[in-house]
């Protein structure tokens, strides 16, 4: 038991920044550049961790609480979600709601930390973050409801269990496809990727998440980046598991499929970012309402 928890956390901690490297490499390939090395996110984190903190005189302890919660929450949420064949260490009826609400906690503190600087840029980012994610949240829940209908249990372990394979081949396959699309959109919103947000520019008025963390520096900024990478991995894990529902029964093999799926997802995100422009801000809520409606269709399909 203990060894499996340790393995679970190690996979998360070690593997999390890699998909970011893959995304950047994919984007570079599309742009015809060589691009940074695959392991660049690791170097960045190491460099930031060695630096010192700098604080504005406006800030209070809440400014540090943002990065701390942003780092701890994905770590805890990862314990609720299975990685491939490796079952989630903590699993109980209704854990999926804890999973969703934990990210709410992170959002609360990140946005509060942004407001703590007293800068209007960061206020702007905080507003956009909370606005868009309260629209993304119903989508996420509809998706989970569809999965729960198939599993007839309310733990993430069984939601993402072996029955998914048969579900794809049954009538429910269409709705699984729909929620896969919806969850992909939710993943892009939650992880502030193009077309909703651009993680590479920091000071355009159109930015959301990145403008919130503008004033963080050194290790605090490193924690935010690391937390974001883990969040991508944890939420991505949900998608990968639905998209690749094969289970061989041997843990190492399943893990390989899972990690391979994560890298595939990263490539997909990279392709989307290279081929799409960022949406205008008023379009974002419209897209999110659209995905919510799509996920309602998916739910109706499994309920009928």
């Amino acid at each position: 038991m203990i060894s499996r928890i340790v393995l679970h956390i190690c996979i998360l901690l070690v593997f999390a920044p890699l998909p970011l490297g893959v995304i950047n490499k994919t984007k570079a390939l599309f742009a015809g550049r060589v691009g940074p090395p695959l392991l660049q996110p690791y170097y960045d984190l190491a460099r930031l961790w060695r630096k010192g903190f700098v604080f504005s005189r406006t800030t209070t302890w809440v400014f540090l609480a943002g990065p701390v919660v942003g780092l701890v929450v994905p770590l805890l949420a990862s314990l609720l979600i299975p990685f491939g064949g490796l079952a989630a260490p903590i699993s109980f009826t209704g854990d999926l709601i804890l999973f969703v609400y934990l990210f709410g906690l992170a959002r609360f503190f990140t946005a509060a930390a942004a407001l703590d600087t007293g800068s209007s840029f960061e206020g702007m980012g905080a507003v956009r973050e909370v606005t868009f994610s309260c629209l993304a949240e119903p989508t996420l829940l509809f998706g989970l409801l569809v999965l729960a209908r198939g599993a007839e249990k309310l733990t993430l372990n069984s939601l993402l269990g072996p029955q998914l394979f048969n579900q794809w081949r049954s009538d429910a396959g269409a709705s699984l496809g729909l929620i896969l699309v919806c969850l992909f959109v939710a993943l892009l919103v939650e992880n502030s990727r193009i077309p909703f947000d651009d993680p590479n520019t920091h000071l355009e008025l159109t930015m959301i998440h990145e403008v919130m963390v503008l004033d963080h520096s050194g290790p605090a900024f490193g924690m935010i980046l690391y937390g974001a990478a883990m969040k991508l991995m944890v939420l991505g894990g949900l998608l990968v598991r639905i998209a690749l529902p094969f289970q061989t029964g041997s843990i190492p093999l399943d893990l390989l499929v899972f990690l391979g799926g994560m890298l595939g997802l990263a490539v997909l995100v990279g392709v989307v970012e290279s081929t799409m422009a960022r949406l205008r801000l008023p379009r974002v809520p419209q897209v999110l309402v659209g995905t919510t409606l799509l996920s309602v269709f998916a739910l109706v399909l499994v309920l009928r």
Partner: protein
């Protein structure tokens, strides 16, 4: 014996303000008042715990009032409502010592104390009453004391107006309740409350609708919430805490108790409450986001939370209609736990808001800013309350919302396809949660973070310990429920059994078991946060902290450049434009060198300001005109009226 102890406690609380009217020296008077309430509450605690552990307490006495005997009862269902009440009453009384001292408010402090005790005692009595006459008497005492609490500062115009609207609303509700209990008396044959599950179908729809009107008005369900925002904003903060945290729950208690009387529940009851709950939840929080007045904002959040509570109750009713015991258990436990939770964190938030108002002297959010540096503890307590009310782990709001979610998910397993429509409550709850989070990020950020927006805010001081300790106690209770939720498991299960005797007890065991895991999750979260926070704190201790926030090269930032409450809410308010209809004025700039421009936005209440007020002023105008025509002072015309009436009556008699 226990019952008498309880009655002595209630008596002490009720009369806490009466005796001190005789004492002339304000400090002595205040202390007597406070001590009496604390002793009264302590006396109630023991009977409360025995009532939960055993099957309950009851008392029957003869009295000379018609319609039955003087009947009291204390079961787990009543205990769930009384327990948070006692905590809020005591902490509010202690808080009031410094928040509303007689020395500074000599003209209205005695009045406030008198009615504070009276309303508290009346509420406990009404939760204990098992007789309709006793219930209604306690209800009226509560309603009228509430009026005097709201109009404490009756020299202010808007306070008088809020009190007036409250008075109309509460008496409309009471009127419905008179009808309700008249019908119940007729059906059951006595003034005593019927036993749980003893009433059958006769007249049940009428009873339910009357109850929904009367109790829904008090609870503040969405179209009936008109009195709530104004009233809660007008009262002194600790009285608002009592009104908003506890008094509106008596409406919920009424609905829960009323529905327990029936053996069978028609499905439309559950659907109706579920829909009203979803509407209250979403529109309540949307209206809250648009507010600038901190107490009005908190009041709208009560509408939202009543919506969440109604969602739980609606699910439980549906569970009874469709015969799903798990749904009954999870829905009602979620409903009742949220009643407790909302009582705790809403009172905490009102008191923290009171502490800010005390320090800055304004209720407008845009007059605050940067208060966390000067009000460390108030800020911490407010943050705790904000996290709790947004339904985030590891605080108590999460636990009750989680129970309601589980109830919603339970409908997935049901074979009835009609019931699966209730699934839509889950995304509604998610939307409410997301919006509440946005709203409290706004309030906490605008009040406590950034830099001070006004002189008064820059010179703000921390509240005295007398005001801080009550808040600390409430926050402690919030985190206790959040971190050890299974300690409330037995009382919740017992209350569910009290509510619906027909639900088989044996199926109740397993469904609340995951509360242990929620608790584990909460502790894990807290531990990890503490560890990481401590590490980061240690590493950052020596970092430079006297630099300005980076302003993109602009080096003269002012406090006015920060995001304000209105600008924060703007994008969300625009999303809900279809339901809010905010006024927006000005703000458009043109040309290269625009002159200074003003922008203001205001969101009136949907039902009161947009619906009722125009309708009633239209009616008043119409009737004035009619009266001028009919009552015109010509004696001959009056004689004509008499003749016409006579003719009509004679014709009627002839047929």
């Amino acid at each position: 014996m226990m019952v008498w102890l309880l009655l002595v406690g209630v008596f002490l609380i009720t009369t806490s303000g009466v005796f001190c009217l005789a004492v002339s020296r304000p400090p002595v008077r205040e202390r007597i008042f406070c001590v009496q309430i604390v002793i009264g509450a302590l006396l109630c605690v023991w009977p409360l715990t025995t009532a939960v552990a055993q099957s309950g307490l009851s008392l029957e006495l003869d009295w000379s009032v018609p319609a039955g005997r003087f009947e009291l009862g204390l079961d787990a269902l009543s205990a769930v409502f009384i327990a948070p009440l006692l905590l809020v009453v005591v902490s509010g009384a202690i808080y009031g010592l410094r928040y509303w001292p007689s020395a500074e408010h000599s003209e209205n402090a005695p009045k406030l104390g008198l009615f504070y005790g009276l309303i508290s005692g009346a509420m406990i009595l009404l939760l204990l009453a098992r007789n309709s006459v006793l219930f209604l008497s306690a209800w009226e005492v509560m309603a009228l004391s509430g009026y005097f609490l709201i109009t404490t500062e009756d020299h202010k115009e808007d306070v008088r107006k809020a009190g007036f609207i409250y008075l109309i609303a509460t008496h409309t509700g009471t009127l419905a309740l008179f009808g309700l209990f008249a019908v119940i008396n007729q059906v059951s044959g006595s003034g005593a409350f019927p036993l749980a599950g003893s009433l059958t179908g006769a007249g049940s729809s009428l009873i339910f609708l009357l109850g929904l009107l009367g109790f829904g008005m008090k609870a503040g369900l969405m179209p009936l919430h008109i009195w709530l925002p104004g009233a809660h904003a007008a009262a002194p903060s600790h009285a608002s805490a009592l009104l908003s945290g506890v008094m509106i729950k008596t409406g919920i208690y009424g609905l829960v108790r009323l529905t327990s009387f029936f053996a069978e529940i028609p499905a439309w009851w559950g659907w109706m409450i579920l829909v009203l709950g979803a509407v209250s939840g979403i529109l309540g929080v949307a209206l809250a986001i648009a507010q600038h007045d901190i107490k009005r904002l908190l009041a709208y959040h009560s509408v939202e939370n009543i919506g969440i509570i109604a969602l739980g109750l609606g699910l439980a009713l549906l569970g009874r209609s469709y015969g799903e015991p798990a749904l009954v258990l999870l829905g009602l436990s979620g409903c009742l736990l949220h009643v407790i939770n909302h009582g705790l964190f809403k009172s905490l938030l009102f008191m923290a808001a009171g502490s800010i108002i005390h320090a800055v002297g304004s209720r407008d959010l845009d007059h605050f800013g940067g208060l966390l540096k000067r009000q460390r503890w108030t800020g911490l307590f407010f943050l705790g309350g904000a996290v709790a009310i947004s339904g985030l782990p590891p605080f108590n709001g999460f636990v009750s919302e989680w129970l309601i979610y589980l109830g919603v998910f339970q409908t997935l397993k049901s074979t009835s396809s009609a019931l699966s429509v209730a699934l839509l409550a889950a995304p509604a709850l998610a939307l409410i949660g997301g919006l509440a989070l946005a709203c409290f990020v706004k309030v906490f950020g605008v009040c406590f973070l950034g830099t001070a927006r006004t002189e008064a805010s820059a010179r703000a001081h921390e509240a005295p310990p007398t005001m801080l300790w009550p808040m600390a106690a409430l926050l402690l209770a919030c985190s206790w429920i959040g971190l050890l939720p299974f300690s409330l498991r037995s009382i919740l299960e017992q209350a569910v059994v009290n509510w619906s005797e027909t639900t088989p007890t044996l199926s109740l065991g397993g469904d609340l078991a995951p509360l242990n895991m929620i608790s584990l999750g909460g502790w894990l979260l807290l531990g990890l946060l503490g560890l990481t926070g401590w590490q980061v704190q240690r590493r950052s201790a020596s970092a430079p902290a006297d630099l300005g926030t980076w302003g993109c090269g602009f080096s003269f930032p002012t406090a006015r450049m920060q995001y304000t409450a209105s600008s924060f809410a703007d994008s969300l308010v625009r999303l809900f434009r279809f339901g809010l209809w905010s006024h927006r004025q000005g703000g458009q700039v043109d040309g290269l060198f625009p002159k200074s421009k003003d922008f203001s936005s205001h969101t009136p209440d949907l039902v009161l300001d947009r619906g009722l007020t125009p309708t009633f002023s239209g009616l008043a105008w119409l009737f004035t005109r009619l009266r001028r025509i009919i009552q015109n002072g010509v004696a001959a015309i009056y004689l004509l009226y008499v003749v016409l009436t006579l003719v009509v009556l004679l014709t009627l008699v002839a047929y």
